[in-house]
């Protein structure tokens, strides 16, 4: 399935885009999404051990499964406040 992954902050700057489309084979987990992202966009490599993934606007662990149509985002550690 194709997933449109929103990117923020330094992840967006490194990727050069605020949304990346990646292809993962079903059934897919967050870990597989991260691996697909790294292949699709090698520029994200310096961030990759630190990237956080949100699925449906909730933080998602590596084992969480993904489904088409869910909102997916990927970003480095937050620094608001």
């Amino acid at each position: 399935m194709k997933l449109a992954v929103k990117l923020f902050a330094r992840a967006r700057d490194l990727a050069g885009t605020s949304q990346l489309e990646v292809d993962v084979s079903e059934p897919a987990t967050v870990l597989e999404l991260k691996q697909a992202l790294a292949r699709a966009c090698p520029a994200l490599a310096p961030l990759s051990p630190h990237l956080l993934v949100a699925v449906g606007q909730e933080y998602a662990g590596d084992a969480q499964s993904l489904a088409e149509g869910l909102e997916v985002a990927c970003f480095p550690p937050v620094s608001g406040g």
């Binding site: 902050a9 330094r10 630190h50 480095p76």
Partner: protein
């Protein structure tokens, strides 16, 4: 009440909002743009958010705080966009019957906001460089 805004934060109105005859204590926390960090000089900060998720996380924080402390009223506002030195980037206001509760809840709200709400700041240093701040990561090259 939670809010993301591009406008300056009216902390006085926010504080008025949480005052109540049921509360003996109000704590307001303001995060402001500091000029020097470890000897480096900031010109301004740019804040961006994953807005819908940030709003839902901020609302969750208020719910969690209400479960832990006898909060009368509470509000969080975070500003986005470009902020100059001294500007207020975030305001947390909370009222409770007694002061220990207001201090604890206010402290927990801002600490937890900084850990879980998807908002990021970018430093604009006085040497002309920009740098996204991502705790735990090495500085950008």
């Amino acid at each position: 009440m939670i809010q993301l805004t591009n406008d300056p934060i009216d902390f006085a109105a926010l504080t008025e909002q949480v005052r109540s005859n049921a509360a003996g204590a109000v704590v307001l926390f303001l995060g402001t743009v500091r000029e020097f960090t470890h000897g480096r000089q900031t010109l301004r900060l740019d804040y961006e958010a994953y807005s819908q998720m940030a709003e839902s996380k901020m609302a969750e924080l208020l719910e969690q705080a209400r479960a832990r402390w006898p909060i009368v009223k509470a509000a969080i506002v975070h500003r986005l966009g470009t902020m100059e030195l001294g500007d207020i980037s975030v305001a947390v206001a909370v009222s409770t019957p007694h002061r220990d509760q207001a201090f604890e809840a206010g402290r927990w709200l801002i600490d937890t906001l900084k850990e879980v709400v998807p908002i990021w700041k970018q430093e604009n240093w006085d040497d002309g460089t920009k740098e996204w701040i991502h705790p735990g990561l090495k500085k950008s090259p």
